[in-house]
């Protein structure tokens, strides 16, 4: 056992063959530079609401420092079930149908591991969050990509799914509002997809982490549509709407058989989500409208600003409708998205994430997160305009 090549050969193939996230790669470059304005941050710039932080301190003082039930505090699961019913239109039994997890990331990992046998195919759409493909591969599933396009607002349609479905397809994985495109789905598209999932008897995972962040029309969750609740694992968490990324708190809602299977893995690997984060989440659910309303309004203003700025400088961008990302096309500048991002970073000290980090079809696009102050956004737009004027 001398030298790392031999060690690498002894790694699990499933792990060895998966590349590191392109985001990680780009972070290493950006972090060597000073005074960069970053539009590369996939998390809110707002602070976690103070009442949530304050009550977390209180929970610590009161000694909420022990293991909780594997599923999470019952009180929290009750509050979650009520919130999901109110906000997403599906009702769940807090005793058996809700599982509190370490972020949505853990919930996704549990869900695919609980559902997939080796060789099972999973339909998912790209450009998408960096974890999906890897999570499917770690679970020995076969990722089958459906590529969404700017021409139809990066929406997913039944036709696109029909083209990729096979008898081995077991699972459909969706994320809207979408990271990195800012796309949302309208109700008609979702109804088609719901019918497709039912006809093909597919299981479904819907990652609604950005569900509260839809700016022009209210978000419709797939899980609220006829026939979907029983076959769907609904994922949501506190990172985006409450600006609680570091708390690492997510949850899954599904049929008791599915939650039981996920809970088994969770029980043996994670045991439970952090007790303090669970207390924080309970407080966050006390007045969501108050906490989220102002943030959504502010994001909408920034979305309007960045969309107008792109239009004025002649950068093609489909209108971002949700989450806090714009996904402009830079195809006409004859540079790969990585080279474009690197040159922009070097010349103007503006960090964006190359679209290729979110799947092969993200090539030719940039992800620009507008979860940053208006002052930063204005300066970034001035610099970006200067940069593309030279090209």
């Amino acid at each position: 056992m001398n030298g790392s090549p031999s060690l690498r050969n002894r790694l699990s193939r499933a792990v060895r063959d998966i590349p590191r996230s392109g985001i990680r790669d780009f972070f290493d470059i950006v972090s060597t530079m000073k005074e960069v304005i970053s539009l590369g941050i996939g998390e809110p710039d707002f602070d976690t609401p103070w009442h949530v932080r304050e009550s977390t301190v209180f929970a610590l003082e009161r000694g909420a420092t022990h293991y909780t039930s594997n599923l999470g505090y019952l009180e929290l699961r009750q509050a979650l079930a009520a919130y999901v019913q109110r906000t997403f239109g599906a009702s769940y039994d807090p005793q058996t149908e809700v599982l509190v997890t370490v972020g949505v990331s853990e919930a996704l990992d549990l869900a695919v591991r609980a559902l997939l046998n080796p060789g099972d195919e999973v339909l998912y759409h790209e450009p998408c969050y960096v974890s999906y493909r890897a999570a499917i591969l770690f679970a020995h599933g076969v990722p089958v990509v459906v590529e969404t396009r700017p021409e139809n607002g990066f929406r997913l349609t039944r036709e696109m799914l029909e083209a990729k479905v096979t008898p081995r397809t077991k699972l459909l994985l969706l994320n809207f509002p979408n990271n990195p495109t800012g796309a949302i789905m309208n109700r008609a598209d979702l109804l088609d997809i719901a019918a497709f999932a039912c006809e093909r008897d597919l299981l479904v995972i819907t990652d609604d982490i950005y569900g509260e962040l839809s700016y022009d029309t209210p978000h419709t969750s797939l899980v609220s549509l006829p026939g979907l609740r029983e076959r769907t694992i609904f994922l949501h968490g506190f990172s985006k709407a409450w600006a609680m990324t570091g708390f690492r708190l997510g949850y899954a809602c599904a049929h008791p058989d599915l939650i039981e299977a996920m809970m088994k893995i969770h029980q043996y690997t994670m045991l439970c989500a952090s007790s303090l984060s669970q207390k924080a989440a309970l407080e966050a659910l006390a007045r969501p409208a108050f906490d989220i309303g102002e943030m959504v309004q502010e994001y909408r203003r920034r979305r309007n600003f960045i969309a107008a700025a792109f239009a004025e400088m002649g950068l093609d961008c489909h209108r971002p409708l949700g989450a806090f990302y714009a996904f402009p096309s830079i195809a006409r500048y004859g540079l790969s998205s990585r080279d474009f991002a690197l040159q922009l970073l070097e010349e103007e000290k503006v960090a964006v994430v190359p679209g290729s980090a979110f799947g092969a079809c993200g090539e030719g696009f940039l992800r620009c997160a507008y979860a940053t102050s208006m002052a930063n956004l204005q300066e970034a737009m001035t610099r970006l305009k200067r940069f593309i004027a030279k090209r």
Binding site: I23, V30, S31, I41, S131, R301, F305, Q378
Partner: protein
């Protein structure tokens, strides 16, 4: 509240062009609406929010609770208006509870404020009693924390 006013209340210096983009309105309309608010007196001025503790000024601020006798015609408004017009009075509010008016009064030093209270305020017809408290330190004004810099703890690139 009108979103335009919310934006101005957060940052009155936000360029009108930026506000127009944020609200998806033509620039002229934003300028016109601001002008209307100013004309109607909804917007009564624009001020910087200062951390005065940092400036080491020769200045003290007192918070004064005042009990008054409402007048037959004009109620509290007449007396409140008379008090508000003194330039030493920076803010004045009608309150429910144990006293009637709450004043924020500024002076160079304790003696100057004391002189204002005894000579000008307490002697006014209709003022029944006053109770003066001096401010020691400002932690937050107009929704802005005074003693904390802004730091962004986030990593520069995250998924």
């Amino acid at each position: 509240m009108d979103e335009l006013l919310k934006i101005l209340q957060t940052n009155a210096l936000e360029p009108r062009e930026t506000i127009a983009r944020m609200l998806g309105l033509p620039l002229e309309e934003v300028a016109q609406r601001v002008a209307d608010y100013e004309k109607r007196g909804v917007i009564r001025g624009y001020q910087a929010i200062l951390n005065e503790d940092q400036l080491g000024l020769d200045k003290v601020t007192a918070v004064i609770e005042v009990k008054v006798t409402p007048q037959r015609q004009g109620g509290f408004d007449t007396i409140a208006d008379r008090i508000s017009r003194f330039s030493e009075v920076r803010s004045a509010y009608l309150m429910s509870g144990a006293y009637d008016l709450l004043l924020f009064v500024e002076g160079k030093n304790l003696r100057e404020v004391a002189a204002f209270v005894s000579d000008r305020l307490a002697s006014l017809e209709g003022v029944v009693s006053t109770s003066t408290h001096f401010m020691l330190k400002t932690y937050k004004r107009f929704g802005v924390l005074m003693h904390q810099g802004h730091s962004d703890e986030r990593l520069t690139i995250t998924p």
